[in-house]
Symmetry: C2
Subunit: 663 residues, 2 copies
Amino acid sequence: MTGVEGRRRVVIERVLPEVDGGRYPIKRTIGEDVVVEADVFADGHDLLGVALLYRRDGDPEWNETPMAFLTNDRWRASFRVAELGRYLYTVTGWVDHFKTWRRDFYKKVDSGQHVLVELLQGARLIDEASHRPPKAEGKSLKEWADQLRSSDATEPRRIEQALDLDMAALMAKYPDRRFATHYERELGVVVDREKARFSAWYEMFPRSCSQRGEHGTFKDCEARLPYIASMGFDVLYLPPIHPIGVTHRKGKNNSPAAAPDDPGSPWGIGSPDGGHKAIHTQLGTTKDFRKFLEKARSLGLEVALDLAFQCSPDHPYVEQHRGWFKFRSDGTVQYAENPPKKYQDIVPLEFATDQWELLWQELKSVMIYWIEQGVRIFRVDNPHTKPFMFWEWLIHEIQEDYPDIIFLAEAFTRPKVMYRLAKLGFTQSYTYFAWRSTKAELMEYFTELTHGGVHEYFRPNLWPNTPDILTEELQHGGRPAFMTRFVLASTLGASYGIYGPAFELCENRPREAGSEEYLNSEKYEIKQWNIERDDSLKEFIGLVNRIRRENPALHSDGSLHFHATDNDQLICYSKSTPDGSNVILVVVNLSPYHTHSGWVQLDLNPLWLDPQHPFQVQDLLTNAYYHWDGPRNYVEINPHSVPAHIFLVRRRLRREQDFDYYM
Amino acid sequence: MTGVEGRRRVVIERVLPEVDGGRYPIKRTIGEDVVVEADVFADGHDLLGVALLYRRDGDPEWNETPMAFLTNDRWRASFRVAELGRYLYTVTGWVDHFKTWRRDFYKKVDSGQHVLVELLQGARLIDEASHRPPKAEGKSLKEWADQLRSSDATEPRRIEQALDLDMAALMAKYPDRRFATHYERELGVVVDREKARFSAWYEMFPRSCSQRGEHGTFKDCEARLPYIASMGFDVLYLPPIHPIGVTHRKGKNNSPAAAPDDPGSPWGIGSPDGGHKAIHTQLGTTKDFRKFLEKARSLGLEVALDLAFQCSPDHPYVEQHRGWFKFRSDGTVQYAENPPKKYQDIVPLEFATDQWELLWQELKSVMIYWIEQGVRIFRVDNPHTKPFMFWEWLIHEIQEDYPDIIFLAEAFTRPKVMYRLAKLGFTQSYTYFAWRSTKAELMEYFTELTHGGVHEYFRPNLWPNTPDILTEELQHGGRPAFMTRFVLASTLGASYGIYGPAFELCENRPREAGSEEYLNSEKYEIKQWNIERDDSLKEFIGLVNRIRRENPALHSDGSLHFHATDNDQLICYSKSTPDGSNVILVVVNLSPYHTHSGWVQLDLNPLWLDPQHPFQVQDLLTNAYYHWDGPRNYVEINPHSVPAHIFLVRRRLRREQDFDYYM
């Protein structure tokens, strides 16, 4: 019976949270609680002691907190993660012979049985325990055992002593844990900073920031910063800022032949001027970039760079590291394809190269380079076309030294691939939000994302548009559609982003019918946006972002709850803080065309409402107040004014007792 | 990057069936298929090869079968388990560069592109592959590659050759699997004989088999065998047959003091005559027992013994192995307790003893002893009061040498404990069936047992009564209640059992109101049953058991499907064989008092029925035929005649085309 300890009687099963049998860590942000549950039980009817063990990865010692029994063999405890980096947790359990003895002893006393023999059994257990604590406590236990055995005292007196609570507490401190069971896995937590969970992104092409019709510079971008900050964003994401290749460069509207003055797609990275560590000359110098970062930071904006691990045919890597690419039998470097389509301006890195270790290290050095310039957030382009193992390694390597780095995965791909990338380390992920428009679609998708395990590792970042995605809804729904999709993105998602100024200016012309590409897409040309236009959504966006900041219920996604409505064009949902101190209820008219009205049927529990009391909802968009009573309430929304309510739920109405003079 | 192979691109997740992350094996019986599914995917858009690997535990080589792509990155294959014992299975996947090349090549050809460069790429892949197969096949590949490169042939001819199907099949035999991913776990299957899945148990006290009012003997039992066989049972389970202790022996109706002629509970095992390897003298000798086994076998009955690992205070172990027991401080051996109740006729084995290894080995030797006498089925008494590790070890040890041994767990305890015992090896398990009486309760419980993972390891054995359990339903519902519960047990469960003759004679007097104990329980006294009584259910039981045997749909539980009815007293469910060749539909009136009628709303899919065609149902209990059409059908059941329909569903009605003379 090698390796077996037959006296280990406790079983620990179904520990949650646990991702894929412990293969991947869960994610939390600083200050959050990790609530752990487990099935813990033993044969027979003995009482158990169960503890949650946790520590920072690398710490030699576990911290320990007792788990509380819930019901049906389930136990629960929690711990708070206070520092960036990785934590570990697991569960341990043991049979508590003293607690068992005490329970049975009490029952026998209670039913009037003689317990002299049981007193001696108890004394024996206490004697054994007395060797475990430090001296003073051990001595108390020893004395206690003697009292239980003492034939000088009466039986009632000895029973009273046996049930002494202080002594029981002391025994609980020193149980016999020689045969404790440890759960077979240590589970991980990655702890990120708050922005990993709560962030508002703004995507902008730096080269379009000049107001003089020229190629924009970082200096022009600096001038644009107050505008972006005034809308309340906190992450400013730039498409690649590196030198752009010339060979097979794409022209306006993705035409195969560029005109001489066409700037090319920023994702065609690399020219004789340099590659992924260089800056496109027309944007400015590294010094300019650092100054721009500084200015942004002073306005509460963090700059996110684009990590697009691909090259133009002119990238220095192509000559310096021929082994990192595929070459065709005609001697040319293999460009990207999705047959029959060809992307001749892009050459993919060949991750299956024999020199993969060198390649991985080089790509890591690219990240380190920009981190050293002051960048802390990266939006990763198409991570699903590079090996999973590479990302797992890279993110782990980087976060070991820089635990504050945030990775956003731009993986518009199949669901299991998206989830896998999140599991292996991406901090946030793009989602299918752009293509979820009906009430049923939105409810199903966001229930999947916020309940049932996915939310332990996948943090959605909701984009109503991107330079690649102008949805049909936005094409046809006009300004109300932009407002609706903005409210949905920014309240369904604690993290969301827009591609501007196209978004706030409601740019909605597609390249052709049936296409999601923008007409005259900014990917291939420099644009001049009139950000001062009267019909801009900048004020509305600023208002919603202020509501988001001021209401902690909107800072996370786990509490999302959908409420029924009797009109399929009206969607209703709520979010709340874990203590119920802030509750937000959102109702959106999904139709950009018509006014819709109907009855919402509220679930009062997730709203922290008492069915016995009326309550008040305050629309934070319009500042209108409504007095509601019970679950069923009427709403009417005209998309041509404001297409949504964002209600602050106020639990208690002011009554006469609340006035100062009421006694 | 120690230990990392960066070119391993395939990911394998969510392999099913898998119990607790592979910690426990699934269960199957000989001849069944193990259907395995997995999420398998890689970065990018390359095509994959995926294979299911399986082997008998101990075999050095894997068998391999290709997995088929379903949808959404899910793959499936199956293998058949043909021998008793343990099998292993896992999944492997790799990027198939040739299949990918062929797909892209075809698309380019299809869109009219020039493909000379692609032909050379294909030739290179074929060249590489030509080194992997045996000589002849390698030579064909080499020649094929040359043809693709040949400048003598026209491009259309070379394209045709490149898409050659035979050659593609040859390439599929020899993919490049250097960087294949193996799923990180090997998963187990325990393969039992058919009786593990399909069995009808009859429990009987041997000492009550005499018709002369004396203590019954194995000879008397032999005389009873034809009666039991005629009812169609195939397992005959006997409560313990060992010497019964005298100290603190319980009298009639569990009274604390036995009269001199009270026989005591058979579960009070051990006397100066011997312990777990001895036979109670009044029953007969070991030779008699073996003869009885032989006779039973000749009638199609296997005898199951009771494995009750506990002792009377008179068991030889108590003196021989004092370390296996707890002793009280007054020097007496510790009896079983559930404070304030005391069970002084039973002393539990102390599994936490320092001598646990010796104890485990002794208990194993008890099993070996009876196995050598010819016993192959054991009903295990209260396994939940002995350590889980002990059972896992014991069952594994025994089944390694005797893979045909069946263990039935009598664990009436909390659900997670029941499931854990099943996971760690028990072949079958008692259930909560006795206490599930309403339609909602039955549907919820049997959905849990047959769907959602539990069925992979937990094989329910349904008992409407036991010597300890006379449910309130049986106490009050009269003969119709016995018939109803019998039909439910024997058709909801591929395995079920009754405690007789109490059951077939509808014995329903409780010791007192509110008790589930029988009045004058056979546990404490010898009974004489008049098995020839006119109102016995023996004929009905025989009929139902014949229906069970003749209809393979009732031989397993996985296909169980509930159908809606509009009357809460009518429950309706079906079972079918995997190929749909046998479909059984059961409707039971749950009320033993009143006739109930209503409409059943059939789901036609699980019944293998075509909504376009009428069908026939034949009641196998009454031989009545009904012609039904579509999902909605009327039923009316009088519990005082037959309280259920067991319909054979006949898919095609005879039409004029079926007559011989129809042309």
